[in-house]
């Protein structure tokens, strides 16, 4: 396809760009995994730039709490599938671009088949399991991928697996194993300022364009950290791990990417049950949120943040323990850890403080 000179004129007049470079973009195939805070700006800029073939993958539907950072969506689209709305809008923006939407999440059964159709993957997911899965699938298929992640006011960007050789730097060089569930709070739990994934996502799109066109120096082998509050960047050169975990199709398919913490059934209690129980003298209410989390509550007997739980296990009294957190996710993990170490009756408050204050 001939690049439309008017549409791309502003970038084609750039030094080291030109028609040949624009044609590279139009011929490229990129898969964006995750259509949330990171995925939306990545998609918008790649479509604008004239990236020819884009796959977008996400099972989620649009919700009101998405709209402060996922500016591609509107109030009238709440409840609709993200990938379908995104694809429809992007076709209006640039008819040069072919968009394939996958309205499901990436998993072991679909990753290799879908990623193999693309030249490059953008990790715009919001959880570690997906990030490790993308990393490993890209290693198997020898595809480069652009990593991005955010937390509160800080973000990270890097390019992995670009050299496609034995010593190619990948995400497992940074953190060989995924953190355990609950060890690192998610955006839903920790919060994120809307503009931050916009910045990090735009950086991911820039890295993708650099890799495809060959202009500039990609962030390969370097982790770029951005602190929005300080307005500061910090770059770290990544060192390859000496004894790598071997990765091939068989290992990938047999690996476990699920939260398989020995599934321990933790009884979850409703807010009304919680209100009844917390009045009883034999019940101890434990808040496992981190110290900075809002709002403070006056009905807990102690606060032991999840990050300190292992070392403070002995501080928990021999009572029945009701555990509460922001959303009722960490409290289940905390309950599992406590019941592993201490022989106590533990309960998780379903829906956490979000449900409590509803």
């Amino acid at each position: 396809m001939m690049a439309d000179r008017d549409r791309y004129q502003r970038q084609m007049i750039l030094p080291a760009f030109g028609l040949a470079t624009q044609e590279k973009l139009l011929a490229a195939k990129v898969l964006i995994v995750g259509m949330g805070g990171l995925g939306c700006p990545v998609l918008q800029y790649l479509v604008g730039a004239g990236l020819g073939h884009i796959g977008i993958m996400d099972a989620d539907k649009i919700s009101l709490s998405n709209l402060h950072r996922q500016l591609l969506f509107t109030e009238s689209e709440i409840g609709l599938l993200k990938v379908e709305q995104a694809a429809a809008k992007m076709r209006l923006l640039n008819s040069d671009v072919t968009i394939e939407s996958y309205p499901f999440n990436i998993d072991q059964s679909n990753a290799l088949q879908i990623i193999s159709k693309y030249d490059l993957v953008i990790d715009a997911t919001d959880n570690f399991l997906a990030k490790y899965l993308i990393n490993d699938a890209c290693l198997v298929l020898q595809k480069p991928f652009v990593f991005g992640a955010v937390s509160r006011y800080e973000g990270q960007v890097s390019v992995f697996n670009l050299a496609q050789e034995e010593q190619s730097i990948n995400y497992r060089d940074l953190f060989p194993e995924a953190p355990k569930p609950g060890e690192v709070p998610s955006c839903a739990e920790a919060g994120v300022i809307g503009v931050l994934p916009g910045i990090i996502g735009a950086m991911q799109a820039a890295e993708a364009i650099k890799i495809i066109t060959g202009i500039g120096t990609p962030l390969y082998g370097r982790l770029y950290h951005y602190n929005l509050l300080q307005g500061q960047g910090f770059e770290i050169e990544i060192a390859a791990t000496e004894n790598r975990i071997e990765m091939n199709e068989k290992i990938f398919l047999e690996n476990i990417y699920e939260e398989n913490e020995e599934e321990m059934d933790i009884p979850e209690i409703s807010i009304s049950e919680f209100n009844r129980m917390r009045a009883l003298p034999e019940v101890f209410v434990l808040d496992v949120r981190e110290r900075h989390e809002y709002p403070p509550i006056d009905f807990s007997d102690a606060q032991i943040p999840m990050s300190e739980l292992q070392v403070k296990m002995h501080e928990i009294p021999d009572k029945e323990i009701c555990i509460i957190c922001h959303q009722g996710i960490r409290s289940v993990y905390a309950a599992q850890q406590i019941s592993k170490k201490r022989n106590l009756k533990v309960y998780s408050v379903k829906g956490g403080l979000t449900a409590y204050f509803k």
């Binding site: 919001d126 959880n127 992640a149 800080e154 990270q156 955006c187 910090f234 770290i236 990050s307």
Partner: protein
């Protein structure tokens, strides 16, 4: 004789600061041990260490003026 330590992400909550100056210690292992003693929550937290913006995987000697960074993983999107 001092080194500067930068904390990122959740490590700022654990240590209560984003930057800290310490008298020089022999190497990164002794520095890590001292920080974990001062902030026990670090023991159960994942992070890697970089010296002068280079990630380190094994113990490394520290010199006056070194800048050490403790970086945790982020997963949000």
């Amino acid at each position: 004789m001092a080194i500067t330590i930068h904390f990122f992400g959740s490590l700022v909550d654990i240590t209560g600061q984003s930057k800290k100056e310490l008298n020089i210690l022999r190497d990164t292992d002794s520095l890590n041990l001292q920080l974990q003693k001062e902030y026990p929550a670090l023991i159960s937290t994942k992070y890697f260490i970089a010296v002068n913006q280079q990630m380190i995987k094994i113990n490394r000697e520290l010199n006056n003026g070194d800048i050490v960074a403790l970086m945790p993983p982020f997963s949000g999107g």
